[in-house]
């Protein structure tokens, strides 16, 4: 497929690796922010191809992994109601809540359906006027415009049986938290290419200035990531601090204006709890009061839960790049994709699941 296959070309990959070996003179710690990038790095063994001086740590960019326990519990409550068709992206079904998960709700007879686009949820609402259709609106800035559009469309059509359980998160506040921590060891970042496709990269310029760290906006194929790593290492070795754009075929500095406009119209910024990390100020999106009629939390009056995460799950440190999944005592033993203790083991973009899939032989035996 065009724009995919050529970015997996082995010969170019080898050339980029060779260039990286020539370039690097000192140890550097780099973080790829997005879980999709983590997955590619593990799948193609890029972490093992790069020079030993380069340490890749994995960022908090898996929305499934950071969706707070309370929201999962609320989703379970709502999905268990007989009048509800609960509609979700597939990854969310196995994420453990404090006592159950959506998959078990479905197995017990709950009407839980998996879709790949919120447009399908709207169709379900139109086709089932006697039922309440609730869409689980999670994701980063990449996903927010699509979810916003679904609410906007429902409002425009006057659909009375559609609502959304919203738990959107924003990338820059999490990176700010990480950079402000005294434990931070990350010296350069690969910024998330699809988040930046929507938002542009001005916010990362502000972070680069404030914390004196370079960013390279990167794509998702092996060649994209090798090139992004190479550009970052060049900046670090030369002492430059800039925001560069490796993924220019999709990203420009201003981002996608129509997508930003619909997000703005439907959502507003709010404080948000991140699973494993805790509350991060101004790090989430919720529905604006004008769209309260589409807010599942209000309609179903789901009480505030506060739930404890399993003590042995070290996902907080994994999501902040302080520990690797293999440092977790539960990894591959009590915690596996079929029976995850923590969310990073659920999604294929979670760091723990990526390690389990591609590094298990080397790490657990």
């Amino acid at each position: 497929m065009k724009y995919l296959d050529e970015y997996r070309d082995e010969r170019i990959a080898r050339a980029l690796v060779a260039e990286l070996h020539r370039r690097v003179t000192r140890p550097w710690v780099l973080m790829e922010i997005c879980g999709g990038q983590t997955h590619t790095l593990m799948r193609y063994g890029i972490d093992e191809l790069v020079p030993r001086q380069i340490t890749l740590v994995h960022g908090p960019g898996c929305p499934v992994c950071v969706t707070p326990l309370e929201i999962i519990d609320k989703a379970i409550r709502i999905a268990s109601k007989p009048e509800v068709i609960f509609v979700s992206y597939g990854d969310m079904l196995r994420v453990p809540g404090s006592e159950s998960d959506l998959f078990r709700v479905k197995a017990a007879g709950g009407d839980v359906r998996v879709v790949y686009t919120p447009v399908e949820a709207l169709k379900l609402a139109r086709a089932n006027p006697q039922r309440q259709v609730v869409f689980f609106g999670i994701g980063f800035e990449t996903t927010a415009p699509a979810n916003a559009m679904a609410v906007w469309q429902a409002c425009r059509e006057g659909l009375r049986n559609f609502s959304m359980l919203v738990s959107h998160v924003l990338v820059p506040p999490a990176i700010r938290l990480l950079l402000g921590s005294p434990h931070n060891r990350v010296q350069g970042f690969i910024a998330p290419g699809h988040v930046c496709t929507v938002m542009g990269y001005r916010e990362y310029e502000a972070l680069a200035r404030e914390f004196h760290v370079p960013f390279v906006v990167g794509g998702f194929e092996p060649i994209d990531l090798l090139e992004a790593i190479s550009m970052l290492v060049a900046q670090l070795e030369e002492g430059r601090v800039e925001v560069e754009n490796q993924y220019a075929r999709s990203v420009n500095r201003e981002g996608n204006r129509p997508a930003q406009a619909i997000m703005q119209e439907v959502f507003e910024v709010c404080d948000r709890k991140w699973r494993g990390v805790g509350l991060i100020a101004q790090s989430g999106l919720r529905l604006r009061p004008e769209f309260a009629a589409y807010d599942a939390e209000k309609i179903f009056d789901v009480a505030e839960f506060s739930a404890e995460e399993p003590a042995e799950c070290i996902s907080a440190q994994v999501l902040q790049g302080l520990k690797k999944p293999v440092d977790c005592p539960a990894f591959g033993r009590r915690c596996k994709p079929e029976s995850p203790l923590g969310a990073p083991m659920v999604s294929s973009e979670g760091a723990c699941a990526a390690y389990y899939q591609y590094r298990r032989v080397a790490t657990v035996s």
Binding site: D9, A15, G35, G61, F140, T142, R156, R249, A259
Partner: protein
Amino acid sequence: MCLAVPGRILTIEETKDSRVGRVQFGGITRPVQLDFVPEARVGDYVVTHVGFAISRVDAEEAERTFRILRGMGLLEGEGPESRGESNEQDRAA
């Protein structure tokens, strides 16, 4: 979750409040909302996430950077004899 893939627009259908394309991803074709890429035309590639196009692939930008990369690959590799990728490139272009 932020996975988004490039596909080629085969047709576009405009209704009063939306713009939907049939977009080809390798062997399969899917409907894709084009509301966020008003500039996209039939034949363009769009990067698509959860059923919505979030960007139109900038073909010139892709070609420019890729020419540099391919040049590097050839310098590093066994010589100019291609393994077929460049043919496929030309066909797809």
